[in-house]
Symmetry: C2
Subunit: 223 residues, 2 copies
DNA sequence: TCCCCCAATACATCGGAGGTCTGTTGTCTA
DNA sequence: TAGACAACAGACCTCCGATGTATTGGGGGA
């Protein structure tokens, strides 16, 4: 195994063993390099890799710290990864979303406080009459994010959020190529909010399924 | 933005733009560094980060290549990330598993070829009478991996695989075996295989739900 | 024709130097 | 005394040049 990978494992070990907790500061580069028995350059590669996946937070002029290790932070890296995928695998991501999103919506129906439901409605309302494609997509993203957050499960939330990345592009194309899509999306979003407001999980789940399946079906035909 | 991060973005751009495809070889370090306008050391940090998440594959003495970019490769990094989580967030991961695994099992029930079902049964059979914890963990991992693979969705498969990393699983098993849950798990595994063999998706889904929920419930009590 | 050796290639690792950013401290002024 | 400014030290950022090491492919010998 390469020296750098070893260093990564050792730092990982320092964290998982509890020697380093969230928010703790690492020894300075030179000291840590000496302790791990490698050069600063090699150590920096290890630290860079760990900061990429949000495990470490390096601040120039200050020091290197362990992040909060919150699930949403760590799963953030997911969206970076899915960016690399080409159109043919996007369908698989969408299939997974069709599994996750309905469940998240059902959970949100049960757990979401009334005031958050109001915020959800507000998101829908703030969309004007003739929004741009970008505004539509941004609004859609925000809508689904709030529902995912309403599930009360940070892991589920950021997973859905991350998976939505690659499908975003697809939605933009959809908006460009399919005229009635925007209006239908709005209707479905409203139906989901209504179901949540009425506290009917199975109805909310069904609408969410239909909503995602609609995008999926369109994409399947388009490819 | 740091120079290294810029380099990461540029390399990412070279791939997403199609200039570099899966399997392609990158220019050698010195050339690429010059082209991107930075030193070799800084470039190496960028390459290291990208190879961490399996986007690049560096081979000493040969060169640096773009990987296949297959979903399973890229989501592999997930298990690394999951390892950092402590017991309190593991519950959230398990909750997500309880959403994904039943659906994957149901999909596998419909799509899995007969010979793969036989292999699945073989996995269960090859476990002896008094297995070690390591054997249990490995067997459990293999069982669920084969089912996930049977769903025919690589993204779903590696997501499930990554969500309960070996570390997490081992930790859970260590606790479970102390309560003699090994036998119950084996029965549930068998029930899942039976349902798949009978091609009854709803039954398979239910067993999978029960199976995951059992672990989840135990963990909830243990914390 | 086959096999072994070696030179070329490319990544791995190292140590040091100069630059830049940040937080702190000490001083000056109102 | 309170606030603002300047100097300082600590820590990361970037680069350079050199040496070590693994892989590959070609040339020479049997």
């Amino acid at each position: 195994m390469a020296l750098t990978d070893e260093a990564i494992d050792k730092i990982k070990g320092m964290i998982t063993s509890g020697e380093l907790g969230p928010g703790d500061r690492l020894p300075k580069e030179a000291d840590l390099a000496e302790r791990l028995g490698l050069s600063r350059n090699s150590l920096r590669e290890a630290v860079k890799a760990l900061s990429m996946i949000r495990v470490l937070d390096v601040r120039q002029g200050d020091g290197t710290y362990v992040t909060s290790l919150a699930p949403d932070l760590l799963l953030d890296a997911l969206s970076f990864v899915v960016d690399f995928h080409r159109d043919d695998t996007v369908l698989q991501f969408l299939e997974v979303r069709r599994i996750l999103e309905p469940s998240a919506t059902a959970l949100a129906t049960e757990r979401m406080p009334v005031e958050d439901i109001a915020k959800l409605q507000a998101v829908l309302d703030q969309l004007g009459d003739n929004p741009t494609i970008e505004a539509l997509v941004a609004n859609d993203l925000e809508f689904h994010r709030q529902i995912a957050a309403g599930s009360g499960n940070a892991v589920l939330c950021s997973l859905i959020d991350g998976l939505s990345g690659p499908t975003t592009r697809a939605r933009i194309w959809r908006g460009l190529t399919q005229e009635g899509a925007a209006e239908r999306t709005r209707e479905q979003h409203q139906a989901i909010v209504d179901a949540i407001t009425a506290r009917q999980p199975d109805l909310a789940r069904s609408w969410a399924t239909i909503h995602v399946a609609g995008v999926e079906e369109w994409l399947r035909r388009a490819l």
